[in-house]
């Protein structure tokens, strides 16, 4: 059963910005990753789900209700982490959380306390003076405190240190086990692959891939820059039948998808000085989804 459905969603901001004919569905009890580089249209899509924006064309629904018309009803069982944390500056963290609980008309329960403990958050300070990570934690608590059925998370781990990122991922996995449906946007595949069962990749507002995490992992291409002793060795190395992206001086850049063993065996036979993996953009990681790279 699909909990959230996006059908033919269009919003054109001009200059190729916006979302264009997005369609997909998220099933009950699924953690769905929404992956794309900055400016790809992730937040625009999420604003439609939240009922902040009215679709120019198409529609989206959550729990069978229209995201624009029934936005207030949808919010009863929805938790949201915005991409940017802006609170009411004059409040302390605790005041804000208790304001949100009363504003939502929920009884204060042990849940808030438990979440604060889980993220080791002392929320007594003024929000204005909090660091980005602390604000992010407040946002997380505010999104989970009413035990929502559906969670919409816009880059939820930004600003968190690795330890807290792990705590957050644990929380998501627990929620998934409890049958909650989660949509999470991110610009890092590593983050999404640990939690999500299915992933949609968006670029320039268009859906370029929608697949299981396993399938995407198989499609994942990694670049390795191998430094050899001299240029002759590099040239010979490049002729070994690996997928070569670039040769410059004594460095060879190869693209490896699943044939890491092949690379290792070739490297064994050559005077390799150094190997490194440069930071890659999503486009580079999923080259075949983005229409193939150079070879």
């Amino acid at each position: 059963m699909s909990v959230c459905e996006i059908q033919g969603l269009i919003r054109d901001y001009g200059n190729g910005r916006g979302v264009f004919d997005l369609s997909f569905a998220i099933h009950q009890g699924e953690v769905f990753g929404f992956l794309g580089p900055n400016g790809a249209g992730k937040t625009t899509m999420i604003r439609h789900l939240m009922g902040f924006l009215k679709p120019e064309k198409g529609y989206c629904t959550i729990g069978g209700m229209d995201c624009w018309k029934d936005r207030a009803d949808i919010q009863k069982t929805l938790g949201y982490i915005p991409g940017e944390m802006v609170f009411f500056d004059d409040m302390t963290g605790l005041e804000f959380l208790s304001f949100m609980a009363k504003y939502r008309r929920i009884k204060s329960n042990g849940r808030t306390r438990e979440l604060l403990d889980r993220f080791e958050l002392d929320a007594r300070g003024k929000l204005k003076k909090m660091s980005k990570g602390m604000k992010q934690k407040i946002g997380i608590v505010a999104a989970f405190m009413h035990d929502p059925e559906v969670l919409v998370l816009d880059e939820p781990t930004s600003g968190l240190d690795p330890l807290m990122q792990n705590r957050f991922i644990e929380l998501m996995l627990e929620e998934r086990a409890r049958g909650k449906t989660i949509l999470m946007s991110s610009h890092m595949f590593e983050e999404v692959e640990r939690t999500c069962s299915r992933v949609a990749i968006i670029k320039n507002g268009k859906l370029v891939a929608l697949d299981n995490v396993e399938a995407l992992k198989a499609a994942q291409a990694r670049k390795y820059v191998i430094t050899l002793e001299d240029e002759d060795a590099a040239a010979a190395f490049a002729g070994e039948g690996l997928r070569v992206y670039e040769v410059s001086h004594n460095q060879v850049t190869v693209i490896v998808q699943s044939n890491i063993k092949e690379l290792l065996s070739v490297m064994n036979r050559y005077p390799v000085i150094n190997i490194l993996t440069p930071n890659q953009s999503l486009e580079e990681i999923f080259m075949q989804y983005y229409g193939g790279g150079r070879s």
Binding site: F52, A72, F99
Partner: protein, 266 residues
């Protein structure tokens, strides 16, 4: 239709600003009422005689020697127009567009609270403040006059005058609030929301100033608040009050509709 948690927060946020305006009004009321002298004509009347144009611009030309007429001329032509107007401008800006502009509106709307409710509640906060301010001025005037000049004040007319001032300020508030709901950027909301009432006020001052410019009074809604007419008991002045009040309701309703239907990039 109203979210009390948000309402309480709004009131808590406004009271400091209201207290400052109340203090300013207290100062003016006390000083100006003390200048009234039923027998000799007040010091202010001497000013009015010495520089009639300047005093006319800010509406300070009493029609009669009555106390209520004196208050109308020296307090309800400038002080009670400008300060509540300032409150409207600042309050409307703070209640809606600032949250949209900064992004904190996200939290008000990611909860099962309708946009209509958010806008209506914020409007109530603003209107409550306005009522409080005008009510305080009324009380202040009454108490001050009764202490200094017992029995001199025509209370019925004075209260009517304050109701008139409230109608005008509700209309001003409506403009500011609508502007706050239309724009997504504080700059523009403030420009239009403050610009229209301030321009209207300047036009009124110009119309007060000279004979040739008098026709300009038809170009500003401030004319609908005919304080002299209210004191003189003219029916047209009452109709002006009703028109302002009705206009305010239209403005506020439009503001709520606009806010509920617009796209929010938050």
């Amino acid at each position: 239709m109203i979210n009390w948690t948000l309402y309480k927060r709004g009131i808590r946020e406004s009271w400091k600003m209201l207290a400052i305006f109340a203090a300013v009004i207290t100062m003016y009321f006390t000083i100006i009422i003390s200048m009234f002298d039923p027998a000799l004509g007040s010091a202010l009347n001497e000013f009015a005689k010495a520089m009639p144009e300047l005093m006319a611009i800010v509406g300070m030309t009493p029609a009669t020697a009555e106390l209520v007429s004196f208050l109308e001329a020296y307090l309800y032509g400038f002080i009670m127009l400008v300060f509540p107007m300032l409150y409207c401008i600042l309050s409307a800006n703070k209640l809606i567009v600032r949250h949209v502009d900064r992004g904190s509106m996200t939290y008000l709307l990611s909860a099962p609270v309708k946009r209509e409710t958010v806008a209506f509640t914020q409007m109530k906060v603003m209107v409550t403040g306005l009522f409080a301010l005008v009510f305080y001025a009324t009380l202040l005037g009454l108490v001050n006059c009764e202490i200094s000049f017992p029995g001199e004040l025509n209370i019925r007319k004075f209260i009517l005058l304050n109701i008139g001032a409230l109608c005008l300020q509700l209309y001003v508030g409506g403009i500011c609030f609508l502007s706050s709901c239309i724009f997504n950027d504080s700059k523009y909301a403030l420009g239009v929301g403050a610009g229209i009432p301030v321009l209207g006020f300047i036009i009124q001052m110009m119309a007060n100033a000279g004979k040739e410019l008098e026709k300009m009074k038809y170009a500003t809604f401030f004319t609908l608040f005919d304080s002299e007419g209210i004191i003189a008991g003219e029916p047209d002045a009452i109709w002006g009050m009703i028109a302002l009040c009705a206009g305010a309701m239209v403005l506020f309703s439009s503001a709520i509709v606009v806010f509920s239907r617009k796209d929010l990039h938050i």
